[in-house]
């Protein structure tokens, strides 16, 4: 558990806590109240499904009401902050653009980088809050960010893009807990969200149907959504696909079956609308280039060793810095990694689980 942050003035610290209406942020808020802080709860309204989609477990009116109930039970104020316009601009538009370029984006990374730890931080500043807290499973400590204690829930992978200057003001009260401990805590406190099911979907993508979201935002004849050639790694056309945005590197489903070895998507070429199919071996990568770099510690230098994680829930592998510039990090991987997908994040860790930085896979 993180030490009680005290202010030099002896004043109670004021904390703005981002509350999704789920159990993690509920317990985070409860923990901060228990530590004696002056806590303000805020739920971000990031998008609107409209009337056609039934309520979701996240970001819906029910979630807002749950967050409000928890705050009322904790005796703290709660507000709804409408950030639909900014979220649409910074997160959804990029999500659509990345798929249009044949890449596989992670909107949660940009939501953290822009919506939560830039825009919400501006609110925290205006409210004269000393700290900003979230229910993330990651540990902010002494200006550094570490993996969360629960290996099954660790969310540090999604946080590489936040400003380093935020870290000294970031509180992560559940980062040191396992999910089971968080739930037990919530039950003990009688929080209405204690047994709420986990939300694993991308919040603005109903029923995991991301193509549906692309269809909403792109014209029907957008190159990413119209049929194109399926080609082998040797360049032979072996069939047709229904739009390259429907494919992700490493995908096996939806490809024409063959008698021989299993086939996977190994590349997407938006310029020719080609989806390239190859063997499992052809899916392995030994090098990775990261762009849009952000450092949460002092930048690595050429020849430095580190661990790099190239997908959420993937194992981090040892790597060596080949070259590093202001905006590009080239890493040689000590062991080959399967299905390195442009658009996903590459997150660089130290051996002790500290997040050193990261970038978007080029």
């Amino acid at each position: 558990m993180v030490a009680n942050p005290s202010l030099p003035s002896g004043r109670r610290a004021r904390v703005l806590v981002a509350m999704s209406g789920g159990v993690d942020s509920s317990v985070a808020a409860a923990e901060l109240v228990a530590r004696g802080h002056e806590v303000i709860g805020a739920t971000l309204k990031l998008f609107c499904y409209g009337d056609s989609v039934p309520d979701r477990p996240c970001c819906s009116l029910d979630s807002i009401n749950d967050a409000r109930s928890v705050c009322q039970a904790l005796g703290i104020p709660h507000y709804v902050l409408n950030m639909e316009d900014r979220f649409s601009r910074d997160v959804i538009a990029n999500f659509v653009a990345e798929y249009s370029r044949g890449r596989t984006p992670i909107p949660c990374v940009r939501c953290n980088s822009f919506t939560k730890f830039r825009d919400l931080l501006a609110h925290a500043d205006a409210l004269e809050c000393d700290y900003l807290a979230t229910g993330h499973y990651a540990v902010a400590r002494e200006g550094r960010l570490y993996r969360g204690a629960d290996p099954g829930k660790d969310q540090s992978y999604f946080l590489w893009g936040i400003s380093r200057s935020v870290l000294p003001r970031l509180l992560t009260p559940v980062g040191g807990l396992t999910k089971a401990e968080t739930r037990a805590h919530a039950r003990q406190l009688g929080l209405v969200t204690a047994d709420k099911p986990e939300s694993v979907e991308i919040c603005f993508v109903p029923d995991d149907d991301y193509v549906g979201v692309l269809e909403q935002h792109l014209p029907a004849d957008a190159p990413a959504l119209v049929p194109g050639p399926l080609v082998s790694t040797r360049g032979e056309v072996i069939g047709e696909h229904a739009g390259f945005a429907r494919y992700t590197i490493g995908q096996r489903k939806g490809l024409p079956g063959g008698a021989g070895e299993p086939r996977f998507v190994v590349a997407i070429r938006p310029a020719t609308r080609e989806v390239v199919v190859g063997s499992a071996d052809e899916l392995l990568g030994h090098r990775v280039q990261l762009a849009e770099l952000n450092w949460l510690a002092d930048p690595l230098a050429e020849g430095d060793g580190c661990l790099v994680q190239l997908r959420y829930r993937a194992r981090a592998v040892p790597a060596t810095v080949v070259t590093v510039t202001e905006d590009r990090l080239d890493l040689a991987l000590a062991v080959p990694v399967r299905a390195i997908a442009p658009g996903q994040s590459g997150v660089v860790f130290a051996d002790d689980g500290q997040v050193l930085g990261g970038g978007v896979i080029a």
Partner: protein
């Protein structure tokens, strides 16, 4: 300890007056009968109900038989708009609701329901000061609508519509005229003996009665088709066992408002003007919505350029001042107010508008404290706006 919060959201709802609590308590205790029962318990309940009806009728200048208790403003508005439309249809005439663009959502949504049921809704524009476009009204009357509905005092801005002139035009045209009096009743002198309305809605909780009680005045000779169906209570126009305690509370609150109106109007007007003067001195670019129109004394709608209303309300709340942005919304949707939009206020300014509304409990000391806190909150939220735009 933070100071006691200041409640400046009386247009959303008001505290229940102690006199009202005293009046209704017997009906939550021993006098529990059903007013439709023929025994002593029922007679006692009916006595309370009918005395309350008479109180409401007297203060509005109508006959007791013209007062129908409802659950509140939304029900009254729906019963008037849809009840008149259905009655027209039953008489073989088309359903058509003509309503001002600045009406409360209860009227707008009821008019929209008329359209969904095969009729028609017509929205009347307003001038930039919020007052009804009378030429548009004349044009709409020529279409022989089943009803015209224009509110008296706007709940968001306090702007007063020329009710007498509108009612007179409708009467001359032989068209039913309904007015939502919810925001204005008790705040200004008013009597239906002087204004020829066909239908009028009031509600209790803006007057110091609890939520869940209101009344619709249906003048003699006006036919409404019921919107709920049941027994013969209230002539079947609004059936269902009556909310006696609520009705008694409404009767008491209406009588208090009626008795105190002249004094309260003067007192609240003075406080409102003081508040407006102090705030505009501290925040010179503040704009008062509808400032050139006659306005009810208790509402001050302020456009604060460069300020997001949602954030401002949060800052005010944390500083102990409860206010709102127009009508209450539970989802925090960033939609500009339809009222301000209809007045031609651009979306950016409409999204900066907050409503401070005063009431019976508001004091000069509170106004002074608001005048200190409000400019500080504005400065912080403007700084936030600049930070977010970088």
């Amino acid at each position: 300890m933070p100071p006691t919060p200041i409640y400046l959201d009386h247009a959303a709802t008001t505290p229940v007056r102690p006199e009202v609590v005293d009046a209704m308590l017997p009906y939550l205790g021993g006098t529990f009968g059903n007013p439709s029962s023929g025994h002593g318990f029922g007679r006692a309940a009916r006595d309370g109900l009918e005395r309350a009806r008479a109180q409401v009728a007297e203060s509005l200048g109508v006959a007791a038989r013209e007062v129908y208790f409802t659950s509140g403003g939304t029900e009254g508005d729906n019963l008037a708009v849809l009840g008149a439309a259905w009655a027209a249809r039953e008489a073989g005439r088309p359903m058509c609701a003509v309503v001002a663009a600045t009406e409360h959502k209860a009227v707008l949504a009821a008019a929209h329901a008329v359209t969904r049921q095969g009729g028609q809704e017509v929205l009347l524009p307003v001038a930039p000061d919020g007052r009804l476009d009378m030429a548009a009204l004349d044009a709409a009357l020529a279409g022989r609508p089943s009803l015209v509905s224009v509110m008296w005092v706007n709940n968001e801005t306090g702007v007063i519509q020329p009710l007498g002139a509108i009612a007179e035009r409708c009467r001359t045209a032989g068209i039913l005229f309904h007015s939502d009096l919810v925001a204005g009743f008790g705040k200004l002198p008013f009597s239906l003996t002087e204004v020829p309305l066909s239908l009028a809605t009031i509600t209790g909780h803006k007057l110091g009665a609890p939520k869940g009680i209101g009344a619709l005045v249906v003048r003699d000779g006006v036919t409404l088709s019921p919107q709920v169906h049941g027994g013969s209570q209230q002539r079947g126009v609004r059936p269902g066992t009556e909310n006696i305690a609520g009705a008694v509370a409404l009767g008491c609150a209406v009588r208090l408002a009626w008795q105190e109106q002249a004094r309260e109007t003067a007192r609240v007007t003075e406080l409102r003007d003081l508040l407006a003067a102090l705030l505009t001195a501290a925040v010179p670019d503040l704009r008062i919505t509808g400032s050139t129109a006659p306005r009810a004394p208790h509402v001050l709608n302020l456009q604060v350029p460069g300020c997001d209303a949602q954030a401002l309300l949060m800052h005010l709340d944390l500083a102990g001042i409860a206010a709102s942005a127009g009508s209450a919304c539970q989802t925090g949707a960033a939609e500009p107010s339809h009222v301000l939009t209809a007045m031609g206020v651009p979306p950016g300014l409409a999204l900066s508008a907050v409503r401070l509304s005063l009431g019976h409990e508001t004091t000069a000391e509170e106004v002074g404290r608001v005048a200190e806190v409000f400019p500080r909150a504005v400065a912080k939220v403007r700084a936030l706006g600049l930070a977010l735009s970088r």
